[in-house]
Symmetry: C2
Subunit: 161 residues, 2 copies
């Protein structure tokens, strides 16, 4: 069952920008694999460059957050370690590691869904892009698809309690 069909089954189908729809579907895929449900997409204009699901357990890789995998796949696909004309869409506020990677990759815009008061590093904790030493700040657009992203996370952790 895709994230889209789950949202439909849940009742109100909220129209979302297609990249966030793809990111939410990747998050649902992560949940089915037993990983914390977070998904990410790198876009260049209207083209999908990379889609990734959070996979640290399956890959035995503590850095394998959805954002990191999507950034790495996009950079590999474009043959460049900078993604200056690309945007990142992710279902959860990035942590410090991922926000740092977003700055290193010079991503133009960051769109995210749910806030993360515990682990987020954009509007919470170190607020990395507001640090004076931050060398690149993407334009940030939060709360796009927030309800569905938060529900995926809530359901995932509830099922594990």
């Amino acid at each position: 069952m895709t994230g889209a069909s789950r949202a439909r089954q849940g009742g109100a189908m909220i129209p979302l920008p297609p990249p966030m729809r793809r990111a939410l579907d990747a998050a649902a895929e992560a949940a089915r694999a037993g990983e914390v449900p977070v998904g990410a997409v790198v876009m260049r204009g209207d083209s999908v460059i990379a889609v990734a699901a959070n996979s640290p357990r399956a890959l035995h890789d503590p850095t394998a957050h959805a954002e990191m995998l999507a950034i790495r796949a996009a950079a590999a696909a474009l043959g460049d370690d900078r993604l200056q004309d690309c945007d990142l869409w992710v279902t959860l506020e990035p942590c410090a590691m991922c926000a740092g990677a977003i700055a290193h990759a010079r991503l133009r815009r960051l769109f995210y869904a749910a806030s993360d008061p515990k682990g987020g590093a954009v509007e919470h904790g170190p607020r990395l892009f507001a640090q004076p030493t931050c060398h690149h700040r993407p334009d940030v657009y939060p709360a796009i698809g927030e309800a569905e992203a938060a529900r995926l996370l809530r359901d995932f952790f509830a099922a594990r309690r």
Copy 2:
């Protein structure tokens, strides 16, 4: 020419803990490949689990800092996304991305050589391990092999000006 022989040629040979010697040699290797000279080693007790040189340009990967590559290689080698009984040795103060990865990997101790007032995130900028939301803090030992690490960086950037 290895980093060790360069240090000897330079005059005073400062004895260093073997893991930092390995990390400095990896940093020199990065410089020879045209990458910013930073090297990292993951140890478990006296065993070297992974050694890596900074390689974002060669790998077309903005996340390919020495620390990230060493952490990923160590986690893959041990088949675990946590490196709880491991230590990281790195020639430069980690940035926010790498400090975040160190916390995610649950590394026990962090040893580093040169400080990085511009990009560092341990004793500078966001001081990530001092943030209230930081979920794991390694024991931190700075300034081990600092002079040689700083010289490698200085020589690298001087040659590029």
